[in-house]
Symmetry: C2
Subunit: 319 residues, 2 copies
Amino acid sequence: MDQAKGTRKSRAGGKADTAKVDLTAVVVAVSNNEPCVLTIGQTDTLPSGPLALEHRSLQSGLRTWVEEQTGHPLGYIEQLYTFADRDRAGAELERRVISISYLALTRKEHATAPSRSSWQSWYDYFPWEDHRAGTPPMVSDLLRPRLIEWAESADDDATRLERRRRAAIAFGFGDRPWNEDLTLKRYELLYEAALVEEAMRGSTLPPPVGGKSMVSDHRRILATGISRLRSKIKYRPVVFELMPPAFTLLQLQRTVEALAGRLIHKPNFRRLIEQHQLVEETGETSTETGGRPAKLYRFRHAVLEEGEVAGAKLPLSRA
Amino acid sequence: MDQAKGTRKSRAGGKADTAKVDLTAVVVAVSNNEPCVLTIGQTDTLPSGPLALEHRSLQSGLRTWVEEQTGHPLGYIEQLYTFADRDRAGAELERRVISISYLALTRKEHATAPSRSSWQSWYDYFPWEDHRAGTPPMVSDLLRPRLIEWAESADDDATRLERRRRAAIAFGFGDRPWNEDLTLKRYELLYEAALVEEAMRGSTLPPPVGGKSMVSDHRRILATGISRLRSKIKYRPVVFELMPPAFTLLQLQRTVEALAGRLIHKPNFRRLIEQHQLVEETGETSTETGGRPAKLYRFRHAVLEEGEVAGAKLPLSRA
DNA sequence: TCCAATTATACTCTACCTGAATATAAGGCG
DNA sequence: CGCCTTATATTCAGGTAGAGTATAATTGGA
């Protein structure tokens, strides 16, 4: 501690209390009922860049980098989390790297310029997170046995029990319900169990359990973004950031389902949307749905002005 | 943007993409039904210190600083927000300052060493946030007229309407309900209206509207912590971090009320606690309450292990 | 001693919210 | 025309939350 105090006083000079600050964005869009994240290059890398002095704020720095790297101007953004794991700093660096991550919601059509960015489905990175068609086979056939194996490999009974319990809660084993919000917890558990590629860099041991990995800790950041978004759609009307100006109620439902990774009871979904007056009819209808034409709706922007007081939430309340 | 790109390439050398990183803690305890925050010195300053290379992580750096400055080892902590306002950097500094803030919950008794720290009531800094005895007079008599004045001073009708609406939502004017979670929003509104001291540093204009201010942006950080905690007690059993090992249900209720700044319907509170099985009887009773002796309870730590799946939430759902 | 004040604990009633199922309407298409 | 598909409306039961009321067990004082 005295050491730490020492570094404080030397703030003007040394590298000890100086850091490189990186801004990283999880940019989300949904199209064709598939939730996507924006990556740059062919390298499974999230848009990011160092905070610089000419940036007026963290947010404006982030917007600048993302627009430059991907051609997407950002609308809605919110801060996610700040990471500073030691292993983020390459061994050759004498400086720590801080990574401030943001969640951004947009639509693919908003791109203004072609660029070397591309959209990837969430579920390419997290195949165990899509429960829209029921529990994915890979969960029961692959993850579950590997996690049980991991639990059993613990040294003492208490740890074994604890690991089994954590896995059961996170993945909904046994008769427990699956909770879509726990994306980050699930990823961290798989990391701890060394079942994802990132956890075993430099190792030669058993192969990872599935899902593309990403550069450095970007998959963890993506998991953080998914968790946050899945929670948030339940109590704030943020889905509409991902919708076109006019949409049918089923399109809206499918978008929510894509994000949540689970299906919703249709009549109840409509009831909630209507009773919270989140939308209003445009007067038009769409016949492109195969059956009876559906009314088109637009988001009632007034709900944003009505304050967080009133409901303004979406279903998915609990499994 | 080209400019920004330029700085990126020069990352190895210049000061442009280098920053000083500060860790700041909002340490909360409740005693005598008063929610308190830990400050150092006599200067209304939150415990804080620069992140240094020898810190294993952000959290451990924070724990080190707080323990050194206040003698309080920390238990529960969670990250709040990362700030990087330009005006945080003193004009003389060529480097940006990043401030990563945390919320910590503890009990005053946990102090291990005497120190130059002290506990201050939240409501000394935010007198408009305590609605336990009804809406405070200062809100109706002082804040409301000043906010209306501010709204009216806008240039155009749209802005005037917008300002009145925002004030009404944030403070629950008219027939709107008061929402205790909006602490940060209220502070930001007062800041924007230049009704708090921090907003008018260097100005000579009308006096601020009340409440002690803090060093630099520490009052904003405290507001962030209060907002987060007031939201969180509704869906996670974090209050128990602030309780002694054994307590009566009324003590528990008073603690929640102290945090929320509003009163709770007693029978409903007990019902919720019991039906979520958050506590278990110790078998003892307490007669120090003046009337009929009250059963003593302890927190059922098992609920933490039962996963965020089950309820585990507290009342205060909506006004 | 016994009453009054104080707090603890238990019970009830109603409105609303939620999950789930069912019924009817309006298009396309062979 | 009749069938398939999707849209839209309605109903029912269980649970939750707000609010009010009743009874129990102490202390302190008349």
